[in-house]
Each structure stands twice: as C-alpha cells, then as structure tokens.
Amino acid sequence: MTDTMVESGPTISSPEDLASLRDQLAAAAEGRRRVLVCSTGCLAIGAREVEATFRSEVAAAGLIGEVDVVQTGCHGLCAMAPVAVIEPYDIVYGRNRVKYIPDVISQTVMNGDVIRRFCYGRDAAMAHVEDIPFYAHQTKRVLRNVGRVDPQRIDDAIQRGVYAAAGKALTTMAPDEIVEEVKASALRGRGGGGFPAGLKWEICKQNPGNDRYLICNADEGDPGAFMDRALLEGDPHSVLEGMIISAYAIEATKGFIYVRAEYPIAVRHIRKAIDEARERGLLGDNILGSGYSLDIEVREGAGAFVCGEETAMIASLEGERGMARPKPPYPAVRGYHGEPTIINNVETFANVPLIIDEGGGDHRLQGHQDLRPRRPGQQHRPRRGADGGDDPRHRLRRRRRNAPQSRVQSRPDGRPIRRMCARLPPGPPHRLRLAQGGRGDHGLRRHDRDGQHDVHRRHRPLLHRLLRR
C-alpha cells in the first residue's frame, strides 16, 4: 500500500467557499509556466526519470517558484511516450530524453521556443496542442482535466472547476430532479451494457430498502480497454464528484469503487483523492454543508476477470467468491447485501457532473447529430493499431513498424470508424485492416469501417476468431 501524505487545506463547507477558493487558485495559476509530465502510462517508458530531471534541472537553474513541474495523467499521445506539455504555450513534446531536458527548460519553458525533434511528427508546425490534428479533431469532455491537473492535488481539480457541479446538485437540487436530468440527458451506461443510467436509478429508488449503495465499476479488463484507467489516474476527483452526485440522487449512504489491482496507479490516485476530499469536507459528513453524508471505500480486485460483471462484483464486495448471480433480481432491486444498489462504470459517473453543469437536455446535444436522440454522450475511446502478421522471424519488428499509432482520443458517439482512424499521424502507409474496439466493440473488419462507432452496438466478435486461427 502506498500512502502519500494528504496536504491539509481549508475545509470547504459551502458552494460559496468552493467558488471563492477556485477563484483564488485560478488567479494564482494565471500565466504560470508549467511542465506537465504524464506520470501514468508513460511511467512504463521512463516518465519518472524525465519528471525527476525536470525538477532537478529547474532547481539547478534557480527557477523554483517560477516553473512548476507537475505529474499529470495521460495526454493521449501514448505512442510518443514519455509525453510532456509545456504551459502556458501548450507545446506538446514526446519522446523526451533526460539529456535534453536542460535545453527544453532554457529554450521552451523559459522562452516558448520550439525544439523540433520532440514535436509530433518531428514537425515544428505541430508543436502546439491546437495544431495537432489528433487533438484538433477531439472534443474533450470527460477527459477535459486529464493531463492538465496533478491528479494527486485536490486544489488543481478545484481550480479546474471540479466539485462545483456537486455543490450545485447537493444544495440546490432535489435527488429526484437529478434523476430527471440524467434521464433527460439519455446517458447510457459506458461500461458496455448501455442501459439508460437515469432509468436504472429510478428503478433503484422505487425499491424499498434499509440502505442503498452506489458502486463504481472500475474493474476494466477487456483487452484494449483502458479509458477508465486514464480517468482514474488522470482526474480522479471528477469521478468522485460524479459518484457524490449520483449517490445523492439515489440517496445512497455508502459508495464503493472497485478497481483492478492491475491498475496500481489508479488505485493510488483514487485513494489519495478520497483522503483529500474527506479532509476538505467534500466527502464524509455533511458534504459542502448540504446535510448529505457519504463515504466511499476503495476495494481492489483480486484477480478475477468475472468480477467486472455486476453481480459477481457485488459478491466480491461482500467478501464472497466472485460468482455471478442470476438476474433478475437486478442489483438496482436487490444488490449489495440484498439492498438496492447502483453499479455504473467510471466513465458514466464522470459524465454526471457535466450533465448537472449543462442540464440534461444540453448534454444530450453533445452526442453525434445523427444519433442524437438515442445515443447521447461521448465515448472516450482508446485506439491502437494492430496487424495480423505471423512471420515468425520478423513478427516482432513488423508489429512494431505496422502499428505505431497508439493513443487515447475522445470523440462523440456515432462517429464513423473510418473517420476516427483517418487522422493518423505520419508514418508508413497503412490501411485499416482491423479495428479492435474497447468495451464490447469486438473487432471490425475493413468493410465495416463505415460503420458507426457506437458503444451500444454489438459488432461481430471477429477478432477472437482471427486470433484463434
């Protein structure tokens, strides 16, 4: 278990407190020089050293107080790992190497000069976030804070507006109003089932129980799916905020986050976030002075793929072998210890603050036009290349060469797959042979490529067949 010290800060006992703190923090951050080093996925390829070197070089240059080095979540361009973003210029550097860091500090951080070799496609014209097609074609919503905040500092989250929606919901809205907004948003479960979230909550509330429970399913384990990981690692406070609002809406007294143990960073960040939120009065008794109390407990999975299934997850939370139970009754009717229980996925909860901010109807409009009435919300979707080459002598090299494009991007639902894959960065010529979706997308063959990316549609489980062959 990794315990990081929780910094103490002022207790926040009302939405007004929260707003004034946010203003203070925003004012202080205005125009600051910051080096945002991805400290999640990129850790696998040297981000820790990169970040440490930035720190030591900043110190050596006597720039402490002028330049902040910040550990952040994923910037999305994982193929360029380790990635850092330099504020206030919004310059994106990938493939950072320790020995060049003094140059980056002196040239880019202090003066805004671009160093070509670290740029996207080694092209100086693609130095800035807004210049990179990969980002330009995205509309970051649930990912809006990922990569921009230090996930282990609640003040960063507050400064970016996290918890404001919770303040609004808990102090100005009745629980049923929230359920109505979520219904109006037509938000559907992002875990793969796609069941309308608001309807599920309503069913839960119709069932009498001694207690109600809220469970955040972060047992993401389908191959190729890692968006929950990006959220938990990069912006845990938004997930917590979504859970607080949801728990209030269904009048739950206790929440759980069930995270895979294979995501140690996510576990660490969410635990830290909970400790900080509790310390500051954003979790626990009488949240933001609303009179509503909630505690959230993190449980780590113990290595059972099946526990991503909701009834198996409940069994596991109850301390049982993670065996799925027959449905009905569904957990919303009889879940944790037989009480009405809501289980939603990480990303579903992350959508909830947006719905409160924008109103359910407006949120609904954020989906793709064609599918607006039925498929609202935004799918945050990992992409990576793959091929089926099987020449034993060269397979490793070929795989590397043919599949260089891995990243996390965020697009509205309903977008054709072809267009999602169209804006690939420079590299060897490629054609789409197979798309392995996250979640329940299964595989898409080339002739499916005009098919719409739709989390709720079941595609043929082609990939499994390909692999078996």
Partner: protein
C-alpha cells in the same frame, strides 16, 4: 386450493393453470406448491437459491431468454411455461454437459434409483457421450479419504454446491468450500485437510442433500440401493429434540443400512446431527444381550425366559412381602417408550405395591419439572421448536445447544440469521457463547446471584412488564423485597463478570420482542437446581416474556423420552399427566382402572434408592434401561450401595456396568425393534416403529414388563403398544385426545385433551396452568463443595456433540469412535502453563471421591481455575469423581460444581 395465510397473494398462470401464490415466493416454490415438478439439481428448500444448475429454467411471457425458476419471484399476472420443447432441449443439453463432467457409475453407486441426476437424465434422455463423455483420471485421495462417516467421490460431483451451502448456511459449520474456479472447481475442506481436523460436525447433511452419489455414507457403501431398502419412519433415540428419521432397512439381512430424514419432517426439517445420522451401529452390535442371564456363584449363565422371569418375579415379590413397600424399587427408563414407562410405573404400583418408582429425570431435569410446576403449574418447555427461529432475543443459560441439542441449535442459528440477538450465560465458551452478543462467563454455581442482579437492574430501570406482573402473577411484593439484598456490583464480584455485561444482558432480555429463555443442565444440576429454575421463571414473568409465541421458559430435555418418562408418571409422587398420588380422587381413579389398591408409601428418587440400598433399607431393585453406576455421582459409593442389594434385576440391551452387578439380566430391545411413542422436549408425542427384528431371544421391553408383572403375581398383557397407549390416554387428560392413528405421520403436542384438539404449541397463553404465576423469593446459596487449597479447581461435567450419556450406544459407531473415543479434561491455558501441562498430555484429575487420568485439552473454553469433563466414557469414568451432593427438593446431583485438583500424570500416553 389450500388456505393461504394473511400474506399478500399473487395470481399467475403456470402451464395454463391459474395459480395463487404468496408474494415473495419464487416461481419454483409456487410451482411445487401447485404440484408442478420443475427439474432442479442445485435446489434444496433449506438453502438460499443460487440458480447454478440452470435445469429449472422456464419461459416467462415478456422476458427475454430463459429464467431460472428458483430465483425468479412470482409477479401479478405472470405467465409461465415450465415444460416446452424449447425447455426440454435446453435441459437435455444442460444435463449432457453435467454428464460430461460426471462419471457414470450407476451400477455400483449407492444412489442408484434415488438420484436426481439419473432421474432427469432419463426423463430428458440425456446422452452421456453427447460432449465426448467423462474421461476419468486417477483417483486421488481427498479430504474424506479415511473418514469412517463421510466419503466423497469427486468424479461423481456435479458442483451444484448443495453440500458446501448446507454446511455453511444451515449447519454454520463451514467445513466445506469450493476451491479454484471454472473448470478446476472442486469441493474440499480448507487446505484439503482431513474432514475430522476441520470444523466438520459430521452431521452428514452434505450426504443427504447431495443430488448424486458424490457424497455418501462410508459404512453403507454396497449395503443396498433404493430397490433393496425399506424406509421406516421413526424417531431418533438420542437427545430430547426427537428428530423424525427414516431407518433404511435391508430386509434381506435385517440391517439398518443408513439413516435419512425427509425435508419437511417435524421438528427437524430433514436435518440430523452426527448421532442421528451415524449413531446406529449399536443396534446390530455383537455385544447386544441375546438371552436371559442368571448369576450363579458370581458368574452369569444363560437361562430361559421362564426361569429368569420366575426367579426375578418371585424374589422381588418376596422382598416386598417381607419388608414392605420401601424395600423394593423400580427404575424406569427415559430411553424407552411412553408405553413402557407407563407400564413400569403401573407394575410398581400394582404388582410391586409401592410408589418407589423413578427414572433418570432425577439425574437431569427433575428440578425443571418441580420448579416450573411450582411457578406455572406445569413443568415442560413452554414453546415449540419451530417458534425458536422467530425469537428476537435468545437468552441461553447453562445450555450448549449446538452440541447437546444440535437441531435446536440449528433453529437458533436460523434466528441468528434473521438478526436475533443472543445472550449466553455459561462458564464455558461454547459455540453459542462465541457467537453471542453478550457472553457472561460467570463462575459455575453462581447463577442465582446473576439472575437476581439482572432482575434487580430490570426493576430499577423499570424495564419490567408491570401490566403482566400485575395481571398474571402473584407474590410480587415479597419477591421484589428479596431482590433488595442483591446488587449488580455484588454479583459482578461474586460471579466474576463485568457489571456492565450483567446490566446490558438484562436490558437486552427485557427489550426483546420477544425474548425466550433456554436452559439445560447448567441450571438444574446444582444443589440449588430447583431454585435456579424458579428464578428463571421469575425473570420471564417479570418481563412478561412468557405465554406467547416464541417466548417463554424452555428447558431443553436431555433424553429422547425424558419428557415422556415424566409425563407417564414414572415418579414417586405422580401418576401419568402429573396427577398427584396424594390426591384421593386421583388415587381412586387409578385404583378403579387398574383393579388394585394404590399404595400410599411416599416413595423416593433414584438417588434415594442408591442411598437406601447402601443403608440396607432397599433390598430389591428392578433397573430398566439405566446404568446408575456410570450415570450417578461418586461411583465407588454407588457400586458399594448396589452390591449391598439382596436382589438386582436389570433389563438391558448391553452388559452395562450396573448389569454386571445384577442377579438376573433380561435381554431387551432397542428403539428400532419395537413400537411405541416418544415425547420430545417440546411435548410432541411421536411414533416409534419397529424396523428390524431383535437379536436372539431379546423381547420388546413392554412385553418383558408385562411378563415381570405376571411373574410377580399380577397378570398383565397387551396385544400391542397401541393398546397400552390407549389405556394411558384414557387416564391422562393431557394425552386424552391422542391415538396412534392421529400421530401416524406427525406427532401432537400436549395438552391435547380431546380427539379434535390440534395440540398446543406454546403454554400459558392468557393464564398459567396454575392460574396466577407464582413469584418465588430465591436466595443465593453457594454450591455444596467449593474450591479450597487442596482442591483449588471447580470441575463441571457435560455432554459433547459426538457422544451420548454413558456412551454405550455412540461408542459402537466406528465413525464416532474415530472422532472421539477417550475421556478428556478441558483446562484453561493459563492453568496448564502453570502446571507444565501441554495439549494432549495425560493428567490426573482428583477429587475427594477419587481420581481419573485423562488427556488434557488446553485452550480457552473454560475459565481459568475451572475444569470441564464429559461423562461418556466407561474407561476413566468422570462420575468416579463427581460429588454426591443433591438438590434440596429433587435430589438431583450437583454435577456442575465440585472441587478438584489436577496434575500432570506420570503415565505415558498410549500411542494413538
């Protein structure tokens, strides 16, 4: 349509039939109630449904896919199809998949013909080779290998989980579990430990719930498949719970092959304990007595019935005639039927012309009979067993139900699962104590101090039921004045328990909705036994926790028919139904019925008989199905007294320690070899049926008693046990409405005065049997023998789960002997450390009356300074050292407290 209770009902359509079901029922329950049999393998009505086998899938209109009937609740207007082509195809596939993982061994399997998997495979014509067929690997040893009770064949296991769940949910022994998952999943014990090293209680429920032959009775293997067996419904001969059992008899060799019990049976719902499941080898033991024996020159020789009866009858009659009614005595047996007990007291009072008749209640629950009769007007368990599960606060004192009354223990576990609170007062950490909300581990022999302090606290806090006290009781003022002499602080000191616990316990009991008291011999086997019982009655009356469902004062009776033995009047002062001998009217009634003058001598109790034998007052003694040498305290004195008798006749199934002293032994029958009735602890009169022929010349006990009566000069004969029962019922108002016909399937609880009376679940509703409940002023008195410098420990005795009383029945079972075959003493680790005693060391326990050398069981079950021993073993018998001090009213011995000392023995433990 059966009458539905006040529960909300739901209308649904099952296979085109309109059905009414209870809200909350599952589709499966509704179907079974309606007589529609949905196939199922993982379902047992005693267990929470899990929907694991998927055989019970049904089609429900408007639902996608097939749903498991065992987990789907009924809903208004639901339309269900339980048997369609689609379902049949699905079930066939499910069965074929199961068969692919099940070694088909039907020809050699015990379960052949009685196997759910076999039945359904036949019904749906499932092909065992549809998926290739089971390919058996090598047979590996498993957790049950070598266990003499339970055997397990994993190749037959279909992983339905019934054994694991019943062990966990019903028995709460949790000895079994699944290990691994998916295709590797397997039933086993923790770390694959041998069963007898786990928390297994050998109840065998894993066997009875198993839908295949995977779990089976080790000893029954090859002894008979269902086609070879006849199931005879009867009553378990062990403790007072009176479980309904089926003896599976193979007529070809006149043997009981195994014991089963049907789900739904009363009062045990198909549940059994180790004794009821595996304790029957004694019936066929080669040690059974098969012929009458007469002692000549100190040796027994075989004799004919005529010769033995003539001698026994003549000698008893001669002694009676020569020395008067107090010179002979009759000891009846609570192990035997009501009919036999009725006859025994009848013979005593007719042929014997004496009221010197008793039975073993004196050894155990006589204080209950006396104490509750004085308080309420009748001395029996006030409530029914099936009310226990609805108790809100269980108050258990001096009772170890999960070992001594395991099936009542299961009912208590049900209550706990429903959220009941539990207060346990016991010097020893029993299962219930460990699972209690409050465990008061008081010093043995301080019960009245404790109860008085609790009542004082209840009164001070005004937690009592003033209305109940006012309206239904008397003598409250004197009672409450007496309590002024007792305080919680004083009790805390004397009982050596935190005052806080005493107060919380009192509050918890007073607040229960409802609360019920359960006690056993920890209350009665004291020199203050009757007072202890009266004080518990005080507590119940004070809080108004009596006279309603699931609430009262509940003595758990120790022997299968100790309730019946008392009911039948095998006591010096009572005729059947507690009609008093000293009541002229009653005496006249019996004199009329029996055609004799009823003797007027006072008579005594078994403990009196033994003392009088020693004093030379008692000269002739007829002992029937009892072994006072082992069961009475201070064994050396008992033997000396009995040796002083001029004539001793024993009617026995084994050569007991007492029988060895006899002049004549009459070979008797076990419960499995005769007809009759037992009355269980909840006053339920149940049918005992003959299942096998007795060995050799052994005769049914009621026949022998008749022959003895005749031999004593008072001819007596009956055609069958039912005739005796009818005579008894005609003379016994509380049994008046019963007959063998009425109790054929399910027994009735007395009082049942008329043929149309449904029997009585709980007593004292509205008013007490005696009218007003009588408060007694109970003073605390110390036990007769307290620890001192020479004997610094307090020794208590009691029963274990695996053995029964003197052990002569249970110790014949290989399975039980394998688990527990030797006497032992439990001592606290701190004492053991000081004495240099390690677990399993031999120690010598000494009292003023003798010593025994037994194994030490070191731990924290007893209090420091306390010792505990079972009394089941002939070798190194515990009653060699217990104290022959008696209750002032009922002459029950103080088995629970005597002063003892213990030291490490020089003997080397025998290799095991």
């Amino acid at each position: 349509m059966t009458v539905l209770s006040a529960l909300k009902t739901v209308n649904l359509t099952l296979d085109g039939r309109e059905i009414i079901a209870h809200e909350g029922d599952t589709v499966l329950e509704a179907a079974l109630t309606a007589g529609i049999d949905i196939p199922r393998l993982c379902h047992d009505p005693r267990l929470k449904p899990v929907g694991a086998c998927r055989l019970c899938v049904v089609e429900i209109e408007g639902e996608r896919g097939l749903l498991t009937a065992c987990t789907m609740e009924v809903a208004e207007g639901m339309v269900v199809e339980t048997e369609t082509d689609r379902l049949a195809a699905k079930r066939k596939t499910v069965l074929e998949l199961i068969l692919d993982d099940h070694r088909v061994t039907c020809p050699t399997c015990d379960k052949n013909g009685d196997c759910a998997l076999m039945d359904y495979s036949y019904r749906y014509q499932a092909d065992q080779f549809a998926f290739g067929g089971y390919k058996p690997g090598p047979v590996e040893p498993n957790f049950a290998t070598g266990n003499k009770a339970i055997a397990f064949d994993p190749q037959l296991c279909i992983n339905c989980g019934r054994c694991v769940r019943i062990c966990d949910e019903v028995v709460m022994a949790s000895a079994l579990t699944f290990k691994m998952r998916a295709a590797s999943v397997e039933v086993t014990t923790p770390f694959d430990m041998p069963l007898n090293e786990t928390s297994c209680v050998l109840c065998g429920l894993c066997i009875t719930t198993c839908p295949t032959g995977a779990m089976y009775d080790r000893a029954a293997l090859g002894q008979g498949q269902i086609k070879d067996l006849e199931k005879v419904q009867t009553v378990c001969p062990y403790c007072g719970v009176g479980c309904t059992i089926e003896l599976n008899v193979n007529r070809a060799n006149n043997r009981i092959v195994r014991v089963t019990s049907q789900v739904g049976s009363v009062p045990n719902d198909g549940n059994l304990c180790v004794k009821g499941k595996f304790g029957f080898e004694y019936v066929h033991s080669p040690e059974r007595l098969t012929t009458p024996l007469i002692k000549e020159n100190g040796e027994f020789r075989e004799a004919s019935w005529d010769e033995a009866l003539e001698l026994a009858g003549r000698r008893l009659r001669e002694l009676r005639d020569e020395h008067g009614p107090d010179s002979i005595a009759f000891l009846s047996s609570c192990r035997c039927t009501n009919e036999e007990n009725y006859l025994m007291q009848k013979v005593a009072r007719t042929a014997g012309a004496t009221n010197n008749v008793d039975q073993c209640a004196t050894t155990c629950h006589a204080p209950t009979v006396a104490g509750l009769a004085a308080t309420f007007g009748s001395g029996a368990m006030t409530n029914a067993i099936d009310e226990i599960k609805d108790v809100d606060t269980l108050f258990i004192i001096g009772s170890n139900p999960t070992e001594a009354h395991p099936i009542i223990g299961l009912e208590m576990k049900k209550a706990l699962k429903k959220g009941a609170k539990m207060v346990v007062c016991d010097p020893r950490k029993t299962w219930v104590a460990e699972h209690a909300d409050i465990h008061i581990q008081h010093k043995p022999g301080t019960d009245n101090m404790l109860i008085n302090a609790m009542m004082r606290h209840i009164l001070e806090e005004e937690l009592h039921d003033a209305e109940f006290v006012e309206g239904r009781c008397e003598n409250f003022e004197a009672f409450s004045k007496n309590l002024q002499d007792y305080t919680v602080a004083e009790a805390a000191e004397l009982c050596d328990v935190p005052a806080e616990l005493i107060m919380r316990a009192a509050e918890m009991y007073a607040a229960g909705e409802p609360s019920s008291i359960f006690y056993t011999l920890g209350i009665t086997e004291h020199t203050s036994g009757t007072e202890n019982v009266q004080n518990l009655a005080n507590l119940a009356m004070l809080c108004g926790q009596i006279g309603k469902r699931s609430s009262g004062v509940n003595p758990l009776r120790g022997q299968n028919n100790v309730q019946g033995g008392c009911d039948m009047g095998a006591m010096h002062g009572d005729f059947p139904g507690y009609q008093k001998v000293d009541d002229e009217v009653v005496r006249f009634k019996f004199a009329e019925a029996w055609g004799v003058d009823i003797p007027t001598n006072k008579g005594g109790r078994v403990t009196d008989f033994i003392e009088q034998a020693g004093d030379g007052v008692l000269r002739g003694f007829y002992v029937f199905g009892e072994d006072p040498v082992l069961s009475e305290p201070n064994q050396a004195k008992v033997i000396k007294s009995l040796e002083n008798l001029e004539f001793l006749v024993c009617q026995e199934i084994f050569m007991s320690e007492t029988a060895k002293l006899a002049d004549v032994i009459l070979p008797a029958t076990s419960f499995a070899e005769k007809d009759g009735t037992f009355t269980n602890t909840e006053r339920r009169v149940q049918r005992v049926r003959k299942a096998v022929e007795p060995p050799g010349q052994a005769k049914a006990d009621w026949e022998i008693i008749c022959l003895m009566s005749t031999a004593m000069g008072h001819p007596m004969s009956y055609d069958n046990a039912g005739e005796i029962f009818d005579e008894m019922a005609s003379l016994t108002p509380s049994y008046g409405g019963m007959s063998f016909e009425r109790i054929d399937e399910v027994g009735l609880q007395w009082p049942c005065p008329t043929p149309d009376h449904p029997g009585t679940g709980f007593l004292h509703a509205g008013s007490f049997t005696r009218g007003l409940g009588l408060f007694h002023e109970i003073r605390f008195r110390e036990a007769a023998e307290l620890p001192d410098d020479d004997y610094p420990y307090i020794l208590s005795t009691g029963r274990t789960l695996y053995n029964y009383n003197i052990g002569n029945m249970t110790q014949k079972s290989d399975a039980i002997r394998q688990k527990q075959s030797k006497n032992f003493v439990e001592m606290h680790a701190s004492d053991a450390e000081r004495l240099g005693v390690a677990n399993d060391d031999l120690v010598t326990v000494t009292t003023r009356r003798g010593e025994v050398t037994v194994k030490a069981v070191v731990g924290d079950r007893t209090r420091p300074g306390a010792l505990w021993m079972p009394f089941h073993f002939v070798d190194q018998p515990t009653n060699r050292i217990t104290n022959d001090a008696f209750d002032n009213i009922t002459r029950t011995a103080e088995y629970k407290v005597c002063a003892a000392t213990v030291k490490k023995s020089a003997e080397v433990p025998a290799a095991t």
